[in-house]
Amino acid sequence: MKVGETIPQKRDKQKIVNYKSLDDALKIKRETARQAITGVLLPENWTTKKS
């Protein structure tokens, strides 16, 4: 860094935007989670309906 050069301001992480809307966010997060659990075998007693 050269003398007199402006020190970059610490990035305001709160301004990070990764979804344009709530609907968009929920849709993408749902699909991401769906992919993560696809093919996953839970223990049998986890998916047996409780009486």
Binding site: Q14, N18, Y19, I37
Partner: protein, 155 residues
């Protein structure tokens, strides 16, 4: 009724909660969502996102609001409400980043005595399709949580 009808679609089952993360510097709108991602097995994804005033949403923002434990406690407080509505449901959650997934593992481990008294927890290891009972020091990529089955007392 023998009449034509409009096409319709089933709205995905969701349970939403909203709250404000408040510090002296700022206030952040947060939303907790339980989203049904497997109807057969009743698995719901637990998501936590930030909502900006302009309607945009982030799950990557680092708010530095110094209230991480309060935020996670708020999420935790909604879990019994989820199980009231979906008693046989299974909650799946993962962090939006590896660091957050690790944070969730640390939080579960920290409160393990209280957690395991009420819930069964599985951890998903990378490159495995069979989640295992939660162990504190495993590098899980996601977690499954269900309410422990409460047996009726014998009379």
């Amino acid at each position: 009724m023998d009449k034509p009808n409009y096409p319709f679609e089933q709205i995905e089952r969701e349970l939403l909660f909203a709250f404000q993360s408040i510090s002296a510097e700022k206030q952040i709108s947060k939303l907790i969502a339980y989203q049904c991602i497997d109807e057969t097995r009743q698995i719901f994804n637990l998501a936590l996102v930030d909502r900006a005033d302009d309607g945009t949403v982030s799950d990557l923002a680092i708010s530095n609001n110094q209230d991480m434990e309060t935020v996670l406690a708020t999420v935790t407080a909604t879990i019994p409400l989820f199980f009231e509505k979906f008693p046989a449901g299974i909650i799946y959650f993962q962090g939006s980043t590896l660091a957050r997934t690790r944070l969730y593992r640390i939080i579960i481990a920290k409160y393990w005595i209280q957690v395991q008294a009420v819930y069964d927890v599985l951890g998903q290891l990378p490159n495995s399709n069979t989640p295992e009972p939660f162990e504190p020091n495993q590098a899980y990529t996601g977690f499954y949580l269900r309410k422990k089955y409460q047996q009726q007392p014998l009379l």
